[in-house]
Structures are given as structure tokens and as C-alpha cells.
């Protein structure tokens, strides 16, 4: 099999005595959509946070496209090609939709002063930003202030904005959180489109139907470790997974 895009090796993240990640291993391969599941506090978001450099790993390594990114700063990891969205949408709310997208344009992101001089890049930047905004059907809303968008549009903009940076790997943290049925259905279509433009997607989701329909493969986590991985039917019915969900006081259930 080809070299994985992302290789997480014995990754650890502790906060004082609490081990959010306890030596987790994970490979993400070209072309796949991997669903991360597990009860609250299992370390799913901690994993995304550590991979993107928001948390500093306390042990282990992260290789992205064969480069060690374990201790690289966040903006470098972003530029290397990891994009992400957040469980609670984090847009630049006071900026327009187009401006949100433009922030991510790679040549602009490199250095603020260089970007000041390279004025002729503007046209190209807008064209690239528009390309991704059109892909996610936001083209008619480019001049809206981000805070005025509907929930579904805000989520789409967050994804489009991540895509403007042309990432190889896209990490989506509970993209369907807070969405109604219609919005969720549209999200499924959006992700189907998006996956053609990135090399791999990692997705955290609590809606088991949704994650089953979106993912090629599931990874179940508990206590900062990977407990089971494999095809969705297999993972969702695995006794370890059932135990992990039943053993916690959360109201989520495996359906």
C-alpha cells in the first residue's frame, strides 16, 4: 500500500495528569474519508487539535506527507496543506464572505508585507476564492457579512474557506452539529463534492447514520486511544465500541 498521507505514531497529549491522547496510532490514506467516533472526552477533538498544532504534543510523532510536523507552528501546518473546521463555527464574523475566503489564499497568507506589495495577485486571489465559494453555492452571498449567514451557509463558508488554502487533508469537527435534517442532507452532498478536491478527509461526527453514509472507514476512540478501526458496520457493532458508549454517562447511543 502507498505511503499514508497522515501518520500519527504513539501520539500523546497530557494536561497535567489528564491524558487526552494516550499513545494513539492512526494512518490516513489517499482518497479516503475516515470517520472518528467515540464518546465525549475520548480525545477526538484533542487529536485534531494536536495534528493541527493547536495543542503541543507531549509525545509521539505526526508525519504529514512524509514530513514531521509534530512541533511545527499552526500556520506552517496550515500552509503545508491541512485544513480544518471547528465544532463551533469560527468565521471572521465581521468580514464579508469573500474576505473570509481571501484570508486563506496561500500567497497572501505567507507574509503580510509581501502581500501588500504584490498587488496584482488580487485578481487571481479573488478568482480562486470565488471558485471554492461557487463550489459550495455561496457565490451569490459573497458580499454578505459572515455573521448574517444562516447556520448552514456559515458551515459551508467555513469549509470553503478551508478549501481556498487548497489543503491535501481536510479535518471536519462535527460538521453536522446543530444542523436540522435539511441542512444535514445538504452537508452530505457538499462533502461528496469536497472529497473530490482533497486527498483525504477526517471527520468527527456523533450522528451515526451520517458518519456511516459519509465514511469509507471508521476509527473508534476511547480514553485517548484507538480501540477499533475498520468498516463501519464492523466498528459500530464491535463489543469494545458498544462498551465505550454504554460505559459513559453521555446520552449518545450507537444506532
Amino acid at each position: 500500500m502507498k505511503q499514508p498521507i497522515l501518520e500519527v505514531r504513539k501520539l500523546q497529549k497530557s494536561f497535567g495528569g489528564l491524558r487526552a491522547l494516550d499513545g494513539i496510532n492512526l494512518d490516513i490514506h489517499e482518497g479516503e474519508v475516515v470517520g472518528l467516533i467515540g464518546p465525549n472526552g475520548a480525545g477526538k477533538t484533542a487529536l485534531l487539535n494536536t495534528v493541527t498544532g493547536f495543542y503541543r504534543a507531549t509525545g509521539g510523532t505526526i508525519l504529514f506527507q512524509n514530513q514531521d510536523i509534530t512541533h511545527r507552528p499552526m500556520h506552517e501546518i496550515g500552509r503545508l496543506g491541512i485544513g480544518r473546521t471547528f465544532q463551533n463555527i469560527r468565521l471572521f464574523r465581521r468580514m464579508t464572505v469573500l474576505e473570509n475566503a481571501l484570508v486563506a489564499f496561500r500567497p497572501f497568507a505567507d507574509h503580510p508585507l509581501r502581500s501588500l506589495i504584490a498587488y496584482r495577485e488580487r485578481r487571481m486571489a479573488i478568482a480562486r476564492a470565488m471558485h471554492w465559494l461557487e463550489l459550495l453555492q455561496l457565490a451569490d452571498k459573497v458580499d454578505r457579512i459572515a455573521s448574517s449567514l444562516s447556520y448552514g451557509d456559515a458551515r459551508r463558508l467555513e469549509i470553503a474557506r478551508a478549501l481556498v488554502g487548497e489543503p491535501s487533508l481536510l479535518l471536519l469537527d462535527e460538521p453536522a452539529a446543530g444542523m436540522n435534517e435539511n441542512e444535514t442532507r445538504r452537508l452530505v452532498d457538499d462533502i461528496a463534492i469536497v472529497r473530490r478536491h482533497v486527498r483525504a478527509i477526517v471527520l468527527i461526527e456523533h450522528d451515526m447514520d451520517l458518519i456511516r453514509s459519509l465514511s469509507d472507514r471508521l476509527v473508534a476512540m476511547d480514553y485517548g486511544r484507538k480501540i477499533v478501526e475498520g468498516a463501519s458496520a464492523e466498528v459500530l457493532n464491535h463489543p469494545e465500541v458498544l462498551k465505550a458508549y454504554l460505559g459513559t454517562d453521555t446520552e449518545e447511543t450507537v444506532s
Binding site: A109, H111, P112, L113
Partner: protein
């Protein structure tokens, strides 16, 4: 008479605004309070002394560059290491220390007494009249320079990519960072611009009073802190308007014969404003780096 007072007030107000805008920019984008800011203003005054033999626009460029570079020094010495939310107070104290060092160094070089500019009686202090109202050239220079600098800042923030990055970092440094924005570079840009404006204000202030003095940071610069609070932390518009209003108020208080007491105007105004509107006049409540969903 009244018009003359108004003009004097607006001219002082423009200078207050210039300093307050710099203060508020750092708060609004980086959520940091830069106590070295008034001392950069003070050094701007001494740029006027050093550059007094040169054509005036050299002095403006020199003050901009000096202020900007000092901004980078302040960022490095006082703020770079203290990025955690709970280190904000430490960073503020460190910036105060940097400010005091700047004052001390300036006093070593120029002495503790104020230094007169050798340009007294020159073009800047010439008067002219429009419709019976008397103006000083220096007043026009101050108002024009303030308009250009704050207008330039507005264009920078709203129309350029640096500005877009600055605004992005102001709203969510984490998102901006993940999208590839180097937050450190953006911080440096913010400190550069903010301090450059302060130094320009110091230069203009020295041109108006005909002297540079090492205590101007405390007497004049610190008021900008109050003005920023009045305008609403991090709100550029608030800092701008607050500066102008306080300048005018102060001029009228002085005219009422309150003398030194008129110096209290800004502090009383701050106390009253904050009692009525705890977040300042233009409290959009959007300052700082707090993450909003």
C-alpha cells in the same frame, strides 16, 4: 473666540485621537495593553529635535520609522513571550518597564528638562486668517497629518491584504493561524503601525509646543489611555471621536479658568462615561481575541 477655542480643542483632540487609535488598535487586534505606547509618543517629540534642521517631511518620515521600529522592539521585549491568556498582566507590566527604560534613556541623552526646538518663529508658527478666524500653520499641519494617518490606517485595514489579516487575527487568531496566517508577523505589523502613529503624534505635539519633553508620555500620552476607554476598547471610531471630544472639552474647561484642573477633564469624563456605559461609548463588545462561536 468660541471658534478659536473650538479649533484649539480640535487640534489637541486630533493628537489625542492619534495616540488613542494606536492604543486601541493593539487592544482590538491582539488584546494587549501596551503601556510603552505613551513613551513612544514622547520619543516622537525628540525626533522633532533631532530632525529640526531638515525639511519637515524628513521629520515625518523619521518619526514614522522610529516609532515603528520602537513598536517592534516593544513587541519583542514585552509581548512576544507572554502569549497565554493569563500572562496578559505580566505582558502589560513588562511593557511598562520597557516604557520606563525608554524614558530613562531619553533623559540620559537629552536631559530631564524640556528641549526647545530651534524653529521657533518659523513657518509653523505663522498665522493667517480665514473669515476672521485666526489659524496657525502648525494647526493645519496637525489636522492634515492626523487625517492622512488615520485615513491611511483605515485604508490599510479595509482595503489591503495586511489589513484583512489583521482583522482576521482580531476575530480569531486560531482560525487565521490554521489558514496559514503568521500571527507573529501580524502582531509585528500592528505594533509597527500603532507605534508609528504615536511617534507622529509626539512629533506634531513638539512642533506645536516648540519643545520636546521627557515627561510628555505621562502627561499627554496617558490621557489617550482614558480616551480609549471612553471610546470603547478596541474601537477605532470611538478612539477617534473620543479624542476630538476630549480635546474640545479640555479647551473649554481651560477657558473657564479652571487652569490645571482642566487636566482632570479626561479622567472625570472617563469615570462618568464608564459608570453609564461600562464598555465605553462604542462598545460593540468585540475587542480582543475572545472566541465567539
Amino acid at each position: 473666540m468660541l471658534v478659536g477655542l473650538l479649533i484649539n480643542g480640535l487640534v489637541s483632540g486630533a493628537l489625542y485621537a492619534l495616540v488613542a487609535v494606536g492604543f486601541t488598535l493593539v487592544i482590538g487586534v491582539l488584546d494587549k495593553l501596551n503601556f510603552a505606547h505613551p513613551e513612544v509618543l514622547m520619543i516622537g517629540g525628540f525626533v522633532a529635535v533631532v530632525a529640526s534642521g531638515l525639511p519637515p517631511y524628513y521629520a515625518f518620515i523619521a518619526a514614522f520609522a522610529t516609532g515603528g521600529l520602537l513598536g517592534l522592539v516593544v513587541e519583542f521585549a514585552a509581548f512576544r513571550r507572554f502569549t497565554d491568556a493569563d500572562a496578559k498582566i505580566t505582558a502589560g507590566l513588562a511593557s511598562m518597564a520597557v516604557g520606563l527604560v525608554l524614558t530613562d534613556l531619553t533623559q540620559k541623552v537629552f536631559g530631564t528638562e524640556s528641549v526647545s526646538l530651534p524653529i521657533g518663529g518659523g513657518w509653523l508658527s505663522r498665522r493667517f486668517q480665514i473669515a476672521g478666524v485666526e489659524f496657525l500653520n502648525v494647526q493645519i499641519v496637525i489636522v492634515l497629518a492626523t487625517a492622512i494617518l488615520t485615513g491611511g490606517l483605515h485604508v490599510l485595514l479595509q482595503r489591503t491584504r495586511v489589513g484583512r489579516q489583521i482583522r482576521a487575527v482580531a476575530e480569531s487568531p486560531v482560525s487565521a493561524s490554521l489558514l496559514g496566517v503568521n500571527v507573529l508577523r501580524v502582531s509585528q505589523a500592528v505594533f509597527f503601525v500603532s507605534s508609528a502613529l504615536a511617534a507622529e503624534a509626539g512629533l506634531l505635539l513638539a512642533l506645536r509646543s516648540g519643545a520636546a519633553s521627557s515627561d510628555i508620555g505621562l502627561t499627554f500620552g496617558l490621557k489617550a489611555l482614558a480616551i480609549m476607554a471612553i471610546g470603547g476598547l478596541g474601537d477605532l471610531r470611538g478612539a477617534m471621536l473620543g479624542g476630538l471630544v476630549i480635546g474640545v472639552l479640555e479647551a473649554f474647561m481651560f477657558h473657564l479658568g479652571l487652569g490645571r484642573l482642566s487636566e482632570l477633564t479626561v479622567w472625570l469624563a472617563m469615570i462618568v462615561t464608564l459608570m453609564v456605559r461600562p464598555r465605553g461609548l462604542f462598545s460593540s463588545g468585540t475587542h480582543g481575541l475572545e472566541q465567539r462561536a
